[in-house]
Symmetry: C2
Subunit: 260 residues, 2 copies
């Protein structure tokens, strides 16, 4: 029993890690005292230059572990051998987790309050992702589902565009969005796809049960696999024949709709 | 009497002209059948190459006038000698006018309905300007005040970011925003500056009189000269210690606040 809870705790910790890579982003993160750091990873093939020395000095100053790997080992950690430049850094984000853990906690928990999440499907523009995170954090939603496949990932550009909100927003990760949404639906959540042609409007959504708002790619909309998991379609009423809004604007209108 | 109304009509027409410049933007506009064109301007110093020939052929096809100018004459039209590349094009936008004309029409008119406008102060990012125009058009505001000084101007990038909404949105121009806002205030409008520290919230604004929402630069906020013209300050309530929203997001929340 003790082992299992220890294991779950450990897993939740690893789920909270966000790995960034590349010399400039890693150095900037090491220099930013507001970021919670976990571990610096270096390829042993790196030439020992000023930059690497500076990184190691900062890691010692921040009291985080430094691990050395061969090229292959490092690329397993960065998951981007082409762009990691031999360095990677784990950030330990307290609000970073997985959809699975979120659902397990809800099942075990006593909270009956209906949550609201945004789910991102094919949002590839990092500026938009950063703005979505900032609006969701400032508005009224409880978190963002960010799949590893098909979306921009949290990188230094996104961190910048989110203006610090990334570290205060619950980010739930999953592999593919369609699979995660199926789990949520089976747990009783309402899955609402945003679509400009839907008959029902956003204002008609009631807060009586957990609700996930699915935001699709600006050009292609919600993908077919994800649309199959939606049990409702919603639109934001638009005037003057405008057919779509920027996805970050849509995210903000959802997040703030009860605050205005 | 007839002369004066003819003069006013003519002036209103010239106020509706938007001049773009640069070889690529002008060619793209000439090739776009959805754009209402007025006149093509060419510097006589241009080398007669394929691109210039193509522009003249398109102007003939679209049945618009072509004017030839010396370098100095052309730069007076483009107002940007450094970047016009010897070509400029007037678009005739039906929804493009000036603050003065707007106020005169309201004074003469019988409509007692209270209007709502967004006013932009120091919005220099063309992407943001395009998104603001798109949101304002789709939402419920009646137009946007865009000063010539201190803001990004409507250029091909903005047209693209607005996704066609530019041609359906009332754009009111003025030289400096502070002067225009003083005119509006004297006509009885309420001038509301958006500020994260204001005690009053957006939700408390009533629709009983003409209202102008002033959006400031993302970093510096509303400028001093403009702040002096505001007779109210408003904030959008934000959670989790977020201090500001992207300006295009703020514009959308104002424009859609009664639709959600």
């Amino acid at each position: 029993m003790k082992d299992s809870s220890e294991y779950l705790e450990k897993r939740a910790f690893f789920d909270s890690l966000l790995t960034i890579y590349g010399r400039k982003p890693v150095l900037e993160a090491l220099e930013d005292p507001s970021l919670p750091l976990h571990k610096l990873h270096l390829a042993s093939s790196n030439r020992r230059d000023q930059l690497i020395n500076r990184m190691e000095a900062l890691a010692e100053e921040r009291q985080i572990e430094v691990a050395h790997w061969d090229r292959k080992g490092l690329s397993r950690i960065s998951k981007n051998a082409r762009q990691d430049q031999g360095v990677a850094l784990d950030l330990a984000l307290p609000n970073y987790g997985t959809c699975k853990t979120f659902l397990q906690q809800r099942e075990r928990g006593t909270s009956q309050q209906a949550y609201e999440l945004l789910a991102l499907d094919g949002i590839t523009n990092p500026q938009n992702l950063g703005m979505i995170i900032r609006s969701a954090c400032a508005g009224g939603v409880d978190g963002i589902i960010l799949p590893r496949k098909g979306c921009a990932q949290v990188d230094p550009l996104v961190i910048k565009a989110s203006a610090g909100a990334l570290f205060k927003t619950q980010i739930l990760r999953c592999e593919t969005l369609a699979d995660a949404l199926r789990d949520f639906r089976e747990s009783g959540a309402r899955i609402c796809g945003l679509s400009s042609h839907a008959p029902k409007t956003l204002a008609e959504v009631t807060g009586d049960r957990p609700t996930i708002f699915v935001l699709g790619n600006e050009t292609r909309g919600v993908s077919d696999a994800v649309a199959k998991q939606c049990n409702e379609l919603l639109r934001i009423p638009m005037r003057n024949g405008v057919e779509s809004l920027n996805v970050a604007v849509t995210a903000a209108l959802i997040s703030f709709r009860r605050e205005l």
